[in-house]
């Protein structure tokens, strides 16, 4: 079974419809931890009635130990902000490589609450911070302190007690580079250290709410019911900072996409499925429907998409009742049917759902989602200009066919704001700064490269090589590197114009976050989104006796106590 072609998959509209799959990073991480019998224990809890103090969670595996240090703060309401430039938070966190000595704890207590402004060493792997949900945190503490479980409607309307506002890894602000730890089995997958931190932070958010309820309510206080507790994930607010990543790491994005498409192709290639698998799929579909029912957003575009998705799922449920899945190549037929009958949201949810019963066939692929990008950085100076021109003609017709003299085609530019040091999208004709544009306009840049290659070829009859072209045209080096890389990695390029008036950055965010394993996408504009991570996942204290991978779709109500 062939993989879906890049010109179909690598379109923003489709990428912006992706859902998590069982290959998503947080799910692969939990499977890995379970397989290696990793243990989590809370080794320190020293937090006062104001909610100020320190907690430490220790994670121990076969070869390494990591510690999440949590610094809790009593933050005035008016200082609570999702924005990346805030300078104080309800809690700040660091994932430490090993067991911190007293001196480490003292040093980190001084620095971690300052986040970007702190000083760090190679022993620090991930830096993060989080704010309480004003809507839910106090309600949960108040309810528990009075001996009641919180209101489920309120719980589901928010879905988390705290939101992380940034999770930094890979050398940011002086912490350890990923290269120092990526040879360790636990960190071979993408963003594993970051997502391990987030999983532990989720546990902390519940622990501190229960702790404060206990201090407030004394003997009346109760803990969260374990099944209600599992309805809490950890929130995250993500802005444009995430968008350039997909463009600036083309080899890595290819690895993610190719694995996802390979997994789908493997499933489509299954000739027959047992009635047990088909019955399981039907139950899974009902659970997915529950998940979509509880997916709320105030964003009109996403609201419409969710409504259509609900309709898609009704159609899908009807399809599942037909003999279709009992016929040869049932999953291939289903994917084909979805392409004809469902919205892109629906089609991509089908992709996620058909993978779900087939872990044995595809889970090992999740270990192949990293790549050493430095191996593909060097430009091949020996490439013939004629070969490069031919490649661009064949691979980039979508970019060459755009009319860049039309202001709508170049309406935007990507830049980094001096004020916030975060990526932003500007209006080229109304805002200053276009001369400081960041290199995300690759469609236009490859069109420019193509034109100059044509000129250079006409000037030199002996079919010169790329090294010679780049001496004369060094401004094209980034575009040349890109086309050469795409020659190796067909899923490396998003086949859309990222500076056009009609481009929706939210699609880039959704795609990346789906690979993380996030769900409940709640766009707050076309440029930032709130999400929920690890909702329904086991907590560390129940991890050893729970299925580590059967949590992404909510349990059916009939299975509730």
């Amino acid at each position: 079974m062939a993989l879906r072609p890049p010109h179909d998959v690598m379109r923003l509209e489709r990428m912006g419809s992706f859902h998590q799959t069982r290959l998503s990073f947080m799910r692969a991480l939990l499977r890995f931890l379970k397989k290696g019998n990793w243990q989590v224990e809370r080794t320190c809890w020293d937090i006062d009635i104001q909610g100020v103090g320190i907690a430490i969670y220790r994670v121990s595996g076969p070869e390494h130990i990591y510690s999440l240090l949590c610094f809790a703060n009593d933050l005035p309401d008016e200082k609570r902000s999702d924005r990346v430039i805030a300078d104080e938070w309800d809690a700040s966190f660091v994932l430490f490589d090993g067991v911190p000595a007293k001196a480490d704890i003292t040093r980190l207590k001084r620095n971690v609450p300052k986040q970007e402004a702190g000083h760090y060493t190679q022993k620090e792997l991930v830096l993060s911070r989080a704010n309480r949900s004003v809507r839910l945190f106090e309600h949960v503490v108040d309810s528990l302190s009075s001996g009641r479980q919180p209101d489920l409607k309120k719980m589901d309307a928010v879905g988390y007690l705290m939101r992380t506002t940034a999770v930094y890894g890979n050398g940011k602000f002086g912490i350890s580079d990923r290269e120092r730890i990526d040879c360790r089995p636990e960190f071979r997958g993408p963003f594993r250290a970051e997502l391990l931190s987030v999983w532990l932070i989720r546990a902390f958010t519940v622990d501190i709410a229960e702790h404060l309820a206990n201090l407030r309510g004394g003997s009346r206080a109760v803990k969260l019911d374990t099944e209600i507790r599992r309805r809490l994930g950890i929130g995250n607010a993500t802005g444009l900072g995430m968008a350039p990543f997909l463009v600036l790491h083309p080899a890595l994005i290819h690895a993610w996409m190719q694995v996802r498409e390979t997994a789908l192709a493997r499933v489509r290639n299954i000739e027959r499925s047992s009635s047990e698998i088909i019955r399981g799929f039907s139950i899974l579909l009902s659970r997915a429907m529950l998940g979509v029912e509880s997916w709320t957003t105030a964003d009109p575009r996403q609201q419409k998409r969710i409504e259509k998705l609900k309709h898609d799922l009704i159609q899908l449920a009807a399809y599942v009742k037909t003999p279709g899945l009992n016929m040869p190549y049932p999953w291939d037929s289903l994917v084909d049917w979805s392409a004809q009958n469902l919205t892109l949201e629906g089609q991509e949810l089908v992709v996620s759902l058909v993978m779900e019963p087939h872990g044995e066939l595809i889970d090992e692929l999740a270990e192949g989602m990293s790549i050493d990008e430095s191996r593909y950085f060097k430009i091949d100076g020996a490439q013939k200009i004629s070969g490069a021109l031919e490649f661009i003609q064949e691979t980039y017709p979508w970019a060459l066919n755009i009319d860049y003299s039309d202001p709508m085609s170049i309406a935007r530019f990507w830049y980094v704001s001096e004020e916030k040091l975060e990526p932003r999208l500007g209006d080229r004709f109304d805002e200053p700064g276009a001369e400081k544009e960041h290199p995300l306009a690759y469609a236009r840049d490859i069109d420019r490269l193509y034109r100059d290659l044509m000129i250079f070829q006409k000037e030199h009859s002996d079919d010169p090589v790329m090294a010679e072209f780049l001496l004369a045209y060094p401004m094209h080096r980034h575009a040349v590197r890109r086309i050469q890389l795409v020659g190796h990695f067909p899923y490396a390029e998003i086949q859309d114009n990222l500076i056009s008036q009609s481009m929706l950055p939210i699609d880039l965010l959704r795609c990346k976050l789906s690979f993380f394993g996030a769900n409940k996408f709640d766009p707050k504009s076309d440029r930032w989104v709130r999400i929920n991570m690890y909702q329904h996942a086991p907590f560390p204290d129940e991890f050893s006796h729970m299925d580590e991978d059967d949590w992404i779709y909510p349990p059916l109500r009939s299975s509730w106590r």
Binding site: K378, G433, S525
Partner: protein
Amino acid sequence: MFRSLNEIEHTARKAARGRGLPWGIADETGKAVRCLHQLKWDGIVQLIQVLDRQDVESVSLRLPEYRCGIWKSKSGKLNPLLAGPSLCDFMDSRVSLRVEIENVVCPLLLAGFLANAISGYGNAVRLSWSNVSLEIFFNQIEIHGNQEDLDSGLEHHVVCEQIACMDRPPASVQASQVWVDDASWVRLENYAKLTHVEATDASRNTGAGAGLLDND
């Protein structure tokens, strides 16, 4: 203060771009400076020396001169941030590369580009100027001669030639953090800041999260 290699790479990249170099060159400059620091050379100081100068240029743009093996700029001073990436390109395109580069400023930076680009066995380059020569392997640089000539800010006539290096295993590099002088870092960041766009009311109003309540 200690800095991670990724921080060094990204800030050097932005600094090069801030000084007006193309993004592709800036990408390679970041990696070259990182590579020098990884090998215990102060790449940031070298980079700042080049970025500070107004009088360095690209190599002249006529192909026949390159093909004869002598690279020079029109005005005399040659920018290693432009010559370095091109040297790496020609490493692949010619079986036996020998290039003379006239009046190149801070030639140690050339070594950063080459050390980062050379990969695998049997591939190495020798750079020579004044009384010093550097044999450059993948993630390794061996120095011969007078080390004082290495990081002088003067222009040098540099000879670059490919040499054989069979049976040499790649060096294992462990460092993830290196010490960077605070004054140098500030100067590097000042160049990097030139890539940032000043905020306006309009940009604030269209920025992520603008106009919406952050608290929930």
